[in-house]
């Protein structure tokens, strides 16, 4: 069963009411916004619970068990607690910067969903610069972290903010380079075009030898760094910087950062699934199931990394990006270009 049909039907019903076209567009866009918002909130609730469960079982624990079946209600209880908590603003903070940082973080996390194809024909807006838009807008996260780090007026927060700036900026490059390899091959920036280019399983970019898997691995590593997850969670490295850039945040404002972090996790997984794992393409099951399944698999891989590896040191992190990932990424890009140009393996 395809979800897109339902939305199409609703849209047609809206048109049938006789409202002017621009009103219909506005209403449908707003509805889409709220739907994505609701969907993301659910996703985050699920991810937080899931991560706790996954980490618990990696460690032979049980994780949350009390609230609801296997503690599924735990995140909701936690978020109620966070929302009702006192909103503390330390005296010495730079107020505007301090207040705006979570909002910027949230916006940057939320915006990419405009161009992510959730299922067959289900996309808010098929921008012709789709992937470029995603890459551009997710980078705003670093601004929010810098703002948080700077505005908190705390040395640990400042160190965290600076680390995040350095880290996200340097890992943006290999990420773009790895994505470029795919773009070169498809010849389009549109997410829909990228998905359509991977109709059969052997056409998925992860299986396109030799550049596909390498690009995928680079993307995976860079994405882990982009989302500030362990082993690249330096900006908030608990054991070094206590909580890094969000050390002075609490309650609601902190939870917005937390929300943004998990939305970002979903974003990079969704893009990874779209670019390398064929997006919503797949046999038998409905397309949205394929999309969600692939995305959740990538999320699980990210969690697996997090609960296995120790954290990198900040200088190794930089070296790894500039000395390993970027040269390899560029070499990979050249290979992809040559393949495209020569027509080898061009199935």
């Amino acid at each position: 069963m395809e979800i897109a049909g339902i939305f199409k039907y609703l849209y047609e019903q809206l048109q049938a009411t006789g409202l002017p076209q621009n009103w219909v567009d506005l209403i449908s866009l707003l509805a889409a916004c709220f739907m994505i918002f609701g969907f993301l909130a659910l996703v985050v609730l699920f991810f937080v619970w899931w991560e706790r469960k996954v980490s618990a079982h990696f460690q032979q624990r049980l994780g949350p068990m009390r609230t609801g079946w296997h503690g599924w209600f735990q995140t909701i209880a936690d978020s109620i607690k966070l929302l009702t908590k006192e909103d503390i603003t330390p005296k010495a903070v730079d107020r505007p910067v301090f207040y705006w940082a979570p909002i910027v973080a949230f916006t940057a996390a939320f915006a990419p969903y405009v161009v992510i194809p959730f299922a067959k024909d289900l996309i808010v807006s098929d921008l012709n610069i789709g992937i470029l838009f995603v890459l551009a807008i997710t980078t705003f996260t670093v601004i929010s972290m810098l703002m948080a780090g700077w505005g908190s007026n705390n040395k640990y927060a400042l160190l965290g903010g600076m680390r995040s700036a350095a880290q996200v900026v340097s890992y943006e490059v290999p990420m773009v380079v790895s994505v470029l390899a795919v773009i070169v091959f498809v010849g389009s920036l549109s997410m829909v075009d990228i998905v359509t280019a991977q109709q059969q399983i052997y056409q998925w970019f992860i299986f396109r030898m030799p550049f596909g898997p390498i690009a995928f691995v680079i993307y995976l590593i860079a994405a882990t760094a982009e989302t500030n997850r362990a082993p690249f969670d330096l900006p908030e490295a608990e054991q070094e910087l206590v909580a890094g850039f969000n050390i002075e945040y609490s309650g609601m404002k902190w939870s917005v950062f937390f929300l943004a972090e998990y939305i970002n996790l979903f974003t990079v997984s969704a893009i990874g699934a779209t670019l390398f794992l064929g997006g919503w393409q797949g046999p038998f099951l409905p397309s949205w199931m394929w999309f969600l399944g692939k995305t959740l698999f990538l999320v699980f891989v990210f969690m697996w990394f997090r609960w296995t590896y120790p954290r990198l040191r900040v200088d190794h992190l930089m070296e790894f990006s500039w000395k390993v990932l970027i040269p390899v990424g560029f070499a990979n890009l050249i290979v992809a270009g040559l393949m495209k140009y020569s027509g080898w393996f061009n199935w």
């Binding site: 618990a56 079982h57 990696f58 032979q60 624990r61 049980l62 068990m65 697996w304 296995t308 590896y309």
Partner: protein, 196 residues
Amino acid sequence: MKKLIDAIKNLFVGLGVTAKHLPRKHITLQYPDERWPMPERSRGIVVLLSDKETGELNCTACLLCMRSCPTAAIRIEHEKDEKGKRTLKEFTVDNTICCFCGICEEACKFDAIKLAPKYEFATYNKEDLIWTTKKLQEMGRDVPYEVTRKKKGEEKAKPEAKPAVPKTEEKPAEAKAENPVPAEPPQVSDNKEEGK
């Protein structure tokens, strides 16, 4: 190059170790619902033991435990009854300073005090942690104990008391022996068993 391959291989080995643990059974318990069985020697709260038959305290107010306590958590008030024997008036254990070392239990020659394998006694008030005779006795009611160190007269009592360690606290009432206690000679309490 070999190093690089090794490094990548080891990254996957690490992932393998965590993956191996993923399906394993959990080793933790859902605490208030499930509990680990406490070993019988476990040193939890201090309780006063009562005679298994009469239900009266074994304590003779000999003050041995009070003197041996390294943190002075035990306070004993005693008085003389009409026969001139020392009896227990009030036995106080301050759980806020008790260090659960178990020395009082070892010092006691009358099976009167024991560190029971119970451990939940958090309260909202500090004052509630100072336990008096009544509370201590109540906590000790269901604590099983072996009647090992019978009071003085151990040599004489040995043949019957040692081998089987009967559940009841039957002791030759007239067993008499020298007093092994260096300080205060413990007087007979109103307990069933009596020495001297």
